[in-house]
C-alpha cells in the first residue's frame, strides 16, 4: 500500500551553519544550545510519518514547536534542509520548480490560519483562484468555484468581498478554495485558530461532515488538543521540532509516551475521546427462560451487579442482583425481576453522552447496528475512565 503523503527524515534549520548544527544535533545537544553555538534555529528535526488516503492526520503542538514550518514543508513553501517529502511518490524536496508547481496545482491545497483571502477579489473569484492559476477557462472555473462554494453553504455570498464576511464565513471560503481545485491532499494550518469558540465548534463539525462526503487526505495543524482529539484519525504530538508521539486519540490518551504528553492529556476532555465501544466489557447474559437461581449463580461467578436477559427476539431487559435475589426468595420467575426499559447505546457514542444513561446505576448495554448485545458499560467504568485511573481498559477480565 502506498501512502498519499510520505515524509522521511525531514529536517529544517534556519541559519547559515546548518551542517555544524546537524552534527551537534546528532550528538544530542538541545535546541537552545545549538542556537547559542551556531546561530541556527532548529525548526523541524527528523520527522517521519505517512498519511493514508482519506485520513485526517493532526499535528498538534504549542507555538514554536515547528508545526507551521512542517506543514509548509509538505507543499514546498518552506524547502526542507534535508529529507524526503513524497506526494504520490513524487519527492517535492528534490524536484524541479516546474514539477513542484504542477504538484501544487493538482494534488495539494492549503487553508490558512488567517484565511489569506484576496481582499480585492470577490468570494467567487477567490475560490476560483486555484483554477485560474491552472489555466482553466473563465466559464468552467466559475462553475466549479460556485459548486465548491455551495458545498460550504456560501452560494449566496459569491459576489461579496472577503471583508464583508465574518471570520467563520471567510474560513469556509478558504476551505472552498482548497476544495475547488480537486486536490486530494488539503493542508490546514490552524484553520480555526482565529475563530470564536462557538464558531470553531461548528466549523469542526462541518469539516467532519464534509470529510465524510469527500474523503480527502487532510493534514491538520492545531494547538488545541480537544480539536485534535475530535478531528484526528491519528494525531502527532510535536515538541521542539520533533514528533513525541504518533497514534490514535485513544492510544495517546490511554498511553502517553512521556511526561510531556501526559501533562497535555491532563486537560483533555476524556468523555469526548473514548466511546462506549472503547470501554465496554463483556456482558453477563442469561436466557430468558432460565431459573432465577441460575442467573444469580452467573452473577456471583462474574462478580457483577446486573445481568442482561436474552430472549427469542434478542435483548429483552436487565435484571439486578437484588431483584433476582427477591425472585429466588419469593419463588418467582426470572421475568419478575427483568426491567425492560434499560439504558442502551451504540458503540460509537462518546462517553460524555453516556452520563444520563449511566446515572440510572444500571450497566449500559452496548448494541451493534442490528440490536445485538456486544458488551456493557458499567457506570463505575465511565467514571474511572473520565478520571484517567484506568490505564489499560481491556485485559482486566480474562475469564468472564
Amino acid at each position: 500500500m502506498t501512502s498519499k503523503l510520505c515524509v522521511t527524515n525531514a529536517m529544517k534549520f534556519f541559519g547559515d551553519r546548518t551542517s555544524e548544527a546537524l552534527e551537534r544535533l546528532s550528538l544530542g545537544e538541545g535546541k537552545a544550545e545549538i542556537y547559542e553555538a551556531t546561530g541556527v534555529t532548529v525548526g523541524v528535526h527528523d520527522v517521519n510519518f505517512e498519511v493514508e488516503q482519506g485520513e485526517i492526520f493532526v499535528i498538534m503542538g504549542l507555538s514554536g514547536s515547528g508545526k507551521s514550518t512542517l506543514v509548509r514543508m509538505l507543499n514546498g513553501l518552506v524547502p526542507p534542509t534535508s529529507g524526503k517529502i513524497r506526494i504520490d511518490g513524487t519527492d517535492i524536496a528534490s524536484c524541479t520548480p516546474d514539477v513542484l508547481r504542477d504538484v501544487r496545482r493538482r494534488k495539494i491545497a492549503m487553508v490558512f490560519q488567517h484565511f489569506a483571502l484576496f481582499p480585492h477579489r470577490t468570494i467567487l473569484e477567490n475560490v476560483a483562484y486555484g483554477l485560474k492559476v491552472k489555466g482553466i477557462g473563465t466559464n468552467e472555473r466559475l462553475t466549479k468555484a460556485r459548486a465548491a462554494l455551495e458545498q460550504v453553504g456560501l452560494g449566496a455570498q459569491a459576489d461579496s468581498f472577503p471583508a464583508q464576511l465574518s471570520g467563520g464565513m471567510q474560513q469556509r471560503v478558504g476551505i472552498a478554495r482548497g476544495l475547488a481545485t480537486d486536490a486530494e491532499i488539503i493542508l490546514m494550518d490552524e484553520p480555526f485558530g482565529a475563530l470564536d469558540p462557538l464558531i470553531r465548534r461548528e466549523m469542526q463539525e462541518e469539516l467532519l461532515e464534509l470529510q465524510r462526503k469527500l474523503r480527502k487526505t487532510i493534514v491538520f495543524i492545531t494547538h488545541d488538543l480537544n480539536e485534535a482529539m475530535l478531528l484526528g484519525n491519528r494525531i502527532a504530538i510535536m515538541k521542539d521540532g520533533r514528533f513525541v508521539q504518533v497514534g490514535t486519540p485513544q492510544e495517546i490518551v490511554a498511553q502517553p509516551a512521556d511526561d510531556y504528553v501526559a501533562a497535555f492529556m491532563a486537560d483533555i476532555d476524556r468523555g469526548r475521546v473514548f466511546t462506549a465501544g472503547d470501554v465496554a466489557q463483556p456482558a453477563v447474559i442469561v436466557n430468558a427462560g432460565s431459573a432465577p437461581a441460575t442467573a444469580l449463580a452467573q452473577l456471583d461467578r462474574a462478580d457483577a451487579d446486573a445481568v442482561h436477559v436474552i430472549g427469542a427476539g434478542g435483548l429483552e431487559g436487565v435484571a439486578t442482583y437484588r431483584d433476582i435475589a427477591r425472585a429466588v426468595r419469593d419463588d418467582g420467575a426470572l421475568s419478575d425481576a427483568v426491567q425492560n426499559d434499560m439504558p442502551v447505546t451504540g458503540p460509537d457514542t462518546p462517553l460524555h453522552q453516556l452520563y444520563e444513561a449511566a446515572s440510572s446505576g444500571l450497566p449500559v448495554a452496548v448494541t451493534d447496528g442490528e440490536g445485538r448485545l456486544t458488551g456493557v458499560v458499567e457506570p463505575k467504568v465511565v467514571l474511572a475512565h473520565l478520571s484517567g485511573v484506568v490505564p489499560e481498559p481491556e485485559p482486566e477480565k480474562p475469564a468472564a
Partner: protein
C-alpha cells in the same frame, strides 16, 4: 600643515577627463539615439495639446477633476485654467504639461519595472538603494552640465534631467508596496502553484496599487518642480517664462510663470491623488454599500 599640502586630489580633472575624453567621444551617438523616443513622444503630445482648443481642454480637465475629486475641485480647475489663459500663458502651460506627461510616462515605464525587480530580490534592492539616494541628494544643477554635453540642449535633454530627478519615488514606492503585501496572501498564491508572473499580476500588483499610485503622484510633483531648472538647458513652457523673467529682472513675468506652475501643480496633484484613492477603493466601497442594502445570510446553519 593640512592634508591638502601633501596630496591634492584632482577630482574635477578626473571627471573632466572621464566625461570629455571618454564618455562624450565614444557614447555621444548612443545618447543622441536615446532621446529619439523622448523627442517623439514629447512632440506628439505637444502637438496634440496645442491642437485641442483651450475651452475643450478646460472642459476635459474639469470633468477629470469632478470624477476624481468632486465638484469643488472641478470649479477650481475651470477658474484656474481660465486665469492662466487670461494672463496669456495658455500655450506655455500646454508645453509644460506635455513635458510633464512625457517625463511621468517615462518614469513609470522605467520606475515600475525597476521597483518590481527591487522588490523581488534583496540584492537588487541593496544595489539600487544607494543609487536612488544619490539621485535624490545630488543637486540637479550638477548633472545638467554632463547632460548638455551628452544630449545637447533643447526639450528632450530637459526631460531626461527631469526623469532622473523624478524617478526615485516611483521606484521606492513600487518596491515598498510590493514588499508590503501580506505574506500569507503571497503564500496562498504560491501554494496554489502560481508562477511569479501570475502572483505579480493577480495578487501583488493590485494590492500594492495604492502605494504605487502614491509614488506616481510624488513623481508627478517632482517633475513639476523641475520645469524651471529644465528650462535652463532649453526646456520651454512656463519654466522658460520664469527664467526669462529672472534674467531680465522682470518680477511680474516671473510671478506670472510661477502662478501658472502652481495652478497646474494643484490641479494635477488633486486629480492624480483622487484617482489613486478611488482606483483602489472603488470595488470594496461599492460592495460595502451593497452589503448594507442586501441582507446577509446568518453564519449559523443547522447541520
Amino acid at each position: 600643515m593640512t592634508p591638502s599640502e601633501i596630496l591634492m586630489i584632482p577630482i574635477n580633472d578626473w571627471v573632466n577627463d572621464f566625461v570629455r575624453g571618454f564618455l562624450v567621444p565614444n557614447f555621444r551617438p548612443f545618447f543622441r539615439a536615446m532621446q529619439v523616443p523622448v523627442a517623439g513622444l514629447l512632440n506628439a503630445l505637444d502637438a496634440l495639446f496645442a491642437f485641442i482648443p483651450m475651452l475643450v481642454m478646460t472642459a476635459l480637465f474639469a470633468v477629470a477633476s469632478w470624477r476624481a475629486v468632486g465638484r469643488g475641485m472641478a470649479l477650481f480647475t475651470v477658474i484656474g485654467l481660465c486665469f492662466i489663459d487670461m494672463i496669456g500663458l495658455w500655450a506655455e502651460t500646454m508645453t509644460t504639461l506635455s513635458m510633464i506627461v512625457t517625463s511621468v510616462l517615462f518614469c513609470a515605464v522605467i520606475g515600475i519595472p525597476a521597483g518590481i525587480l527591487a522588490a523581488r530580490s534583496d540584492t537588487t534592492w541593496r544595489i539600487m538603494r544607494p543609487i536612488l539616494d544619490i539621485m535624490q541628494t545630488v543637486p540637479s544643477f550638477v548633472y545638467l552640465v554632463p547632460i548638455v554635453m551628452l544630449f545637447g540642449v533643447g526639450m528632450p535633454p530637459g526631460i531626461i534631467a527631469t526623469v532622473i530627478f523624478a524617478l526615485p519615488p516611483i521606484i521606492r514606492m513600487t518596491n515598498l508596496g510590493l514588499r508590503g503585501v501580506r505574506a500569507d496572501l503571497v503564500e496562498a498564491a504560491e501554494s496554489f502553484g502560481s508562477t511569479r508572473w501570475q502572483m505579480l499580476w493577480d495578487v501583488q500588483f493590485p494590492l500594492a496599487l495604492r502605494t504605487i499610485m502614491a509614488g506616481l503622484n510624488q513623481t508627478l510633483m517632482l517633475a513639476l518642480s523641475m520645469v524651471v531648472i529644465a528650462a535652463l538647458i532649453g526646456g520651454g513652457g512656463l519654466g522658460l517664462v520664469v527664467n526669462t523673467g529672472l534674467g531680465r529682472l522682470d518680477v511680474g513675468g516671473a510671478t506670472a510663470g510661477g502662478i501658472g506652475i502652481v495652478i497646474l501643480a494643484i490641479i494635477l496633484d488633486r486629480i492624480s491623488q483622487g484617482l489613486a484613492e478611488r482606483g483602489s477603493d472603488r470595488t470594496s466601497l461599492l460592495s460595502v454599500l451593497k452589503g448594507y442594502v442586501r441582507p446577509q445570510r446568518p453564519a449559523t446553519r443547522t447541520a
